[in-house]
Amino acid sequence: MQLSREQMLQAYRRMKIIREFEERLHIDIATGAIAGFTHLYCGQEAVAVGVCEHLDTDDKIVSTHRGHGHCLAKGCDVDGMMKEIWGSREGLCKGKGGSMHIADVDVGMLGANGIVGAGAPIAVGAALAAKLDGKGKVAITFSGDGACNQGTTFEAMNMAVVTKAPCIFVFENNHYSEHTGFEYAVGTQQDIASRAEAFGMRVWRADGTDFFAVHETMRELLEYVRAGNGPAAVEFDTERFFGHFEGDPQRYRGEGELDRIRETRDCLKKFRASVVSAKVLTDADLDTIDAEVLDQIEAAVVAARAAPRPTSEDVLADVYVAY
């Protein structure tokens, strides 16, 4: 499918927002300005955006501990997210969740998740709700090559197949589950998609660093799932530009590996090369977006720094609706 110029500009902007959001967090975490555990999505932007560009707010996604990209791609507010990660009471979750628990049900984002593999069953439930509503909506769970080893993921895949839930299992294989290599931890030593296939799902595979490949794959896949064929899975081969968590010394990386993947596997560089060589967008178009996004992120940080902090009175708020 040919994307319009506007669609391409929007997709690039969204990927760039994720990239700069994460690059900036990397800096502000290193200086100690931001507290807590943070897992950066940087490098995998083409997957989140290539998937979510097909969705509207009634389609649901469930994310992971590495969830900023999914949240931003699904439409969570940039300022609200930055404030949340800075721990402000004006954050998207009032400073209660932080990096690992960003959610906004109003945009169909049912939560990042601090527990690897916990999202898949939740997505099956959201998909069952969509099936009951009968409007062709779907629920998507993002899982990494770590979560693909969790029993919850297996349970969820089987239950989705059994119940014909419109649930999509998006596996982002970034080759590392925490600090352990895919080749070691995934016992089949093959791919992840073949596991999903063994559960009885139709599966797709694509290069997760190529936005256009992700987008086209998801177009096909979503058409299949929205038509009522039950669940499906896709594996995107992608790269994680930072460590498992911020502060991870990444001693498990090969010599020159990070430079190499930044050089050859950067989805933003690949996008730019592709659209500029095809003469559908110009370097100037993209440079303009780059500059605007940098300003937007800077403004978000300025706002987050100045935003009010929660107080001890806020601790007990929102444990229950009524108690």
């Binding site: 649901k60 469930v62 949340e84 954050g91 998207l92 979750c93 009032k94 400073g95 209660k96 969740g97 628990h101 959610a103 906004d104 049900v105 109003d106 049912l110 939560g111 998740n113 601090g114 527990i115 916990a118 898949a120 069953p121 939740i122 997505a123 099956v124 439930g125 959201a126 998909a127 069952l128 709700a129 969509a130 099936k131 009951l132 629920a139 029993g151 919850t152 349970e155 969820a156 089987n158 239950m159 059994v162 119940t163 708020a317 929102d318 444990v319 229950y320 609706v321 009524a322 108690y323």
Partner: protein
């Protein structure tokens, strides 16, 4: 007013809710039963007969028969709730909660808080708990104590058919996740259930016996054992308050404290082992807030610190009985 069994109160209350509100969805293992067999579907209707007839009435999208996948059952209930439905998930035995604990403890209990109050998760997780069936260590346990310790959950323990109806309706009307604990030994118990559209608010205990001399506090099956002990003591002219907490989260602290302020003597009865239990929790509450009223040390009648044993004699020795409660009461009454 109708007489009905505890299990029928569960079934009819859910059925009525499903008729009234199309967001209500039931899911669990064998809630339909017989799927994929010559005899099914509806060969079972729930292992406790609490969903008989649901499948025929509401179909597979609202009566979701699941594989044996407790994590996925509870997780799916969470996802359904976040997506605007009112799921009622059944874990066949409360003991299976271990398999699904992450989804209960880290997920549904915390969504609202972690998400800054923007979401609700009105998922009801029903489960059959408790001993007395020689079902041994993995099919007999009481789990209310550690669920009560989890912020974000409400924990309900109905002891009568009437309470089943009122408390389940209340759970369905609310927007918080609820653990609904049904004692296996109560499913066959019959009681009066009033007609009409009424509920029982959470955190309101029921005084099932009134007296001036001693306070007995219990939940679930233990309530009737306290009543039996109280009736035996009444023959000696000893009057007991028997407090059925009905919900352990929220808990009606006031009912306990008000009673102890009058009686000055307390026996707490708990089917779970004593360490870090509801019994110790209530004892701490009374020691802290009604210390001056106490005329004797608090007694706790609980299970011992062991897994639930299999053999008849062992399980009888394990479970709190009316005789053990009566003995504890006499000890408290005989102090000084």
């Amino acid at each position: 007013m109708a007489k009905m069994m505890y299990r029928d109160a569960v079934r009819s209350t859910i059925f009525e809710a499903m008729e009234r509100d199309e967001r209500v969805v039931v899911l669990g293992e064998d809630v339909v039963g017989g799927m994929g067999t010559a005899g099914g579907p509806e060969a079972i209707g729930g292992i406790w007969s609490t969903s008989t007839g649901f499948y025929d009435a509401f179909g597979p999208d609202r009566v979701i028969d699941t594989p044996i996948s407790e994590s996925a059952i509870v997780g799916a209930a969470g996802g359904l709730a976040l997506a605007g439905k009112k799921p009622i998930a059944e874990l066949m035995f409360a003991d299976f909660i271990g398999v699904s604990l992450d989804q209960i403890w880290n997920q549904i209990a915390k969504f609202r808080y972690m998400f800054g109050g923007k979401s609700t998760c009105p998922a009801i997780i029903r489960m059959a708990y408790g001993g007395g069936f020689n079902a041994a260590a993995q099919h007999s346990q009481s789990v209310h104590h550690f669920l009560t310790a989890m912020p974000g959950l409400k924990v309900v323990m109905p002891s009568t058919p009437e309470d089943v109806r009122g408390l389940l309706r209340e759970a369905l009307r609310g927007d918080d996740p609820v653990i609904f604990l049904e004692h296996k030994a109560l499913y066959g118990v019959t009681g009066e259930v009033p007609d009409g559209d009424w509920t029982i608010p959470f955190g309101h205990a029921r005084l099932t016996r009134a007296g001036q001399d001693l306070t007995l506090v219990a939940t679930g099956l233990m309530v009737s054992r306290c009543e039996a002990a109280a009736d035996a003591l009444a023959k000696d002219g000893i009057g007991c308050d028997v407090i059925d907490l009905r919900t352990t989260s929220p808990m009606d602290e006031e009912a306990i404290l008000d009673s102890v302020e009058v009686t000055g003597r307390l026996v707490v009865v708990d089917e779970a082992p004593q360490r870090c239990s509801l019994a110790t929790d209530i004892s701490a509450l009374v020691a802290q807030k009604a210390f001056a009223s106490l005329k004797a040390p608090i007694e706790m009648v609980t299970a011992p610190h062991s897994p639930v044993p299999f053999a008849l004699e062992l399980e009888q020795a394990y479970l709190p009985s009316a005789a053990k409660i009566e003995a504890a009461a006499r000890k408290v009454l005989g102090y000084r």
